[in-house]
């Protein structure tokens, strides 16, 4: 049996990684909740955002945390434009087409990055990259602690946006009943695009929080999006609270199963949960009954 502080370290690591997973899952669950499609370009968008952070740091010498201010609106705009001017026209109003278009987009983005950056794994070196916060016997990685709290702040802001603003009301109305929303004067195409933009903005923030400790290569997004998908299923499709709680659970499960079963089997716990949830609670922890 391992000592308690080792267990606590792994637990803390899991919670901190889980918070970033949650942030990535937030975008996915939001788009699912409103557009009722799985955005297959989610992983590729995350990769693109991570490369954007990499370029911002290595070319323009912008710190990843400062890059949040620039990249979040940029990716919101990109997400908005892609949905409004590419996905929406190309789908001809058919939901299953949206799915295929996002899949196509992911292939294009991934290969464009491959062409532009080659397949090398890159990382950025920031002075605080490996600094730690000491709590007793625990050495918590500073960037991960920052990411943990930032993820909660972003989730809170997103919740406020949905609950308290007119745009949020419109998003919820479209999610509930888009024909009805359209009849009461809501521009559904605009709301779809805003939702997509919000999803991309979440990814931009996640990328900025990840890059001080993680690496990036043109396929890195896939690793995250598979986990994010499990979180969305666990938390309940379309639920923000579900994404947050699901993210933390998955992070902890991954970390502890890595510690006890070995790193090679670290992800086995995640997919076990995935299957169990599908079998026994297909609506997820916070999902509305279909």
């Amino acid at each position: 049996m391992l000592k308690l502080d080792i267990f606590l370290s792994a637990l803390a690591n899991g919670l901190m990684t889980g918070a970033v997973y949650a942030l990535i899952a937030l975008g996915l669950t939001l788009v699912y909740g409103v557009l009722h499609i799985i955005n297959f370009a989610h992983g590729a968008t995350l990769t693109a955002a991570m490369f954007a952070v990499f370029v911002a740091h290595s070319v323009f010498k912008i710190d990843p945390y400062i890059a949040i201010v620039i990249l979040t609106p940029l990716f919101f705009g990109l997400g908005y434009a892609v949905q409004r001017f590419v996905i929406n026209p190309a789908s001809h109003g058919n939901d299953s087409n949206i799915l295929l278009v996002t899949l196509g987009l992911s292939i294009i983005i991934e290969n464009a990055l491959l062409a532009g950056f080659r397949s090398d794994t890159r990382s950025i070196d920031v002075p605080y990259g490996f600094s730690v916060i000491e709590i007793g016997n625990l050495f918590l990685s500073t960037p991960k602690v920052v990411a943990f709290f930032a993820s909660f702040v972003v989730a809170g802001l997103l919740w406020l946006l949905l609950a308290r603003t007119d745009t949020g009301k419109a998003i919820r109305a479209v999610a509930r009943e888009k024909t009805g929303a359209a009849l009461s004067g809501i521009n559904v195409d605009h709301i779809y695009a805003v939702t997509f933009g919000l999803g991309a903005a979440c990814l931009a923030i996640a990328a900025c929080l990840l890059m001080p400790t993680f690496l990036v290569n043109p396929r890195i997004g896939n690793a995250f999006v598979l986990v994010a998908f499990t979180i969305v299923v666990l938390g309940g499709m379309g639920s923000i609270a579900g994404a947050l709680v699901g993210g933390l659970i998955i992070g902890v499960v991954e970390s502890l199963s890595g510690l006890y079963f070995g790193e090679s089997l670290g992800q086995i716990g995640i997919f076990l949960i995935f299957i169990l949830v599908l079998l026994f609670r297909p609506t997820g922890l916070f999902g509305a009954k279909a």
Binding site: A10, N13, R118, S119, D125, L259
Partner: protein
């Protein structure tokens, strides 16, 4: 293609043109196509790029010096294949090289790629020179076409353990317990098995053997286990990115074993690691491929390799030497015939390479003189600590 009057006439016309002007065809000796196979995309892309670099330097040098003289100065022409960091990528590129008519193939880098690619090449009797792949299965399958110029992990592990005992004895035996960290593929898992067999006999207690996948995004758990076990020595066998992550995480978690003694590690004797993370890299020891610093040619190749801000990695001198070895065999064979090249390789005594081995001598495809070197990162530089014959520094051990 259907044969009709027109195509027959076209063919005949082309044939008669060649017969009519034999001088034009003979004036320039035909180029000999050499397949260079490296993973330049995927998890192993960095190693593949530096392997290709070594092959290119050798090919340029040979062509600039007048090509293959026994074949009228025939040039060597590179047919490059990207193994995409997996065995399937390797074999599909071998098929493509076969269709392009290569005389031989050099490279592969990782053991799984080399195993699959050399097997694919053997179907067409294409001579295959393995540049790095250390799994000893590569030369134990009885494939006549497959040659390995560098040492396999059996030899490397033996040397590494001998030197480790020497090191530990000289310091008064401070190290008794060991944790092995290895990537879970053919190379790392095979290495871990060998170490588990041999370390206890050398007087070390193995506390645990920790596997991790390639690529890994996070090494926190591995570091935590090491912290819990508190071993005297950590022996890592991983590729570049994972070892860098592990050593930085260990630094972050304040894990300071008496020594980090890597065997065939992808980063521990890599100047990029040393330059980018000098603190994490300091005093890490490695038993690995290394160019012979005594040979004047080494400095020349190193200078060429380091142009444009690149680093000096062992992949470059190994591939340089392998291509030179092949060129020597073609020179002696006097032919681009695959069978003749294979025979010439099997009888090779090539000595003009830049590795610390003597004249080449293949036994069942394995170069018997191939040997690794022990290095240690000391204050931002990589020093040779064993063998004594060309060591340029004393080992610093224990590190704490």
């Amino acid at each position: 293609m259907t044969m009709n009057r027109r195509t027959v006439l076209q063919g005949a016309a082309a044939a008669s043109a060649i017969i009519a002007a034999p001088g034009l065809v003979r004036a320039q000796a035909p180029a000999i196509k050499i397949g260079i196979l490296q993973p330049v995309t995927g998890a192993l892309a960095q190693d593949g790029e530096y392997g290709r670099l070594g092959a290119e330097i050798a090919l340029n040098e040979i062509n600039a010096a007048g090509g293959i003289k026994s074949m009228g100065g025939a040039r060597l022409q590179m047919v490059f294949g990207d193994a995409r960091s997996n065995p399937e990528g390797g074999t599909s590129e071998v098929e493509r090289m076969q269709s392009e008519g290569v005389a031989a193939i050099v490279g592969g880098f990782a053991s799984p790629i080399v195993l699959a690619s050399s097997q694919a090449a053997s179907r067409y009797d294409i001579p295959y020179i393995c540049d790095v792949g250390v799994s000893d299965q590569i030369v134990s399958r009885g494939l006549k076409n497959t040659f390995r110029f560098g040492p396999g992990f059996g030899v490397v592990t033996r040397t590494a353990l001998e030197n480790l005992s020497k090191l530990n004895d000289a310091a008064g035996k401070p190290a008794k317990t060991v944790v092995i960290v290895h990537e879970d593929g053919l190379f790392g898992a095979g290495m871990a098995k060998l170490l588990n067999d041999r370390l206890p006999a050398a007087g070390f207690e193995i506390l645990e053997t920790i596997a991790h996948p390639t690529p890994s995004r996070d090494m926190s758990n591995v570091a935590l286990r090491i912290r819990a076990l508190n071993p005297d020595l950590v022996i890592p066998s991983s590729y570049y990115a994972e070892f860098v992550l592990l050593s930085r995480t260990m630094q972050q978690q304040r894990i300071r074993p008496k020594g980090v003694y890597a065997i065939l590690n992808g980063a521990a004797s890599n100047f990029r690691f040393v330059k980018e993370f000098p603190d994490a890299a300091n005093l890490v020891m490695d038993c690995n491929h290394w160019a012979d610093p005594r040979k004047p040619k080494t400095a020349q190749v190193k200078a060429l390799a380091e142009q444009g801000g690149r680093f000096w990695l062992y992949n470059t001198p190994l591939n340089y030497s392998c291509v030179r070895l092949l060129a020597d065999a073609i020179e002696r064979a006097g032919s681009a015939d695959r069978g003749k090249i294979t025979e010439a390789l099997a009888a090779s005594t090539f000595a003009d390479h830049i590795m610390p081995y003597g004249p080449t001598k293949f036994e069942n495809g394995q170069n018997t003189g191939a040997a690794p070197v022990n290095t240690q990162v000391q204050n931002g530089d990589i020093k040779v600590i064993f063998p004594d014959a060309f060591a340029d520094a004393k080992p610093v051990f224990p590190a704490v």
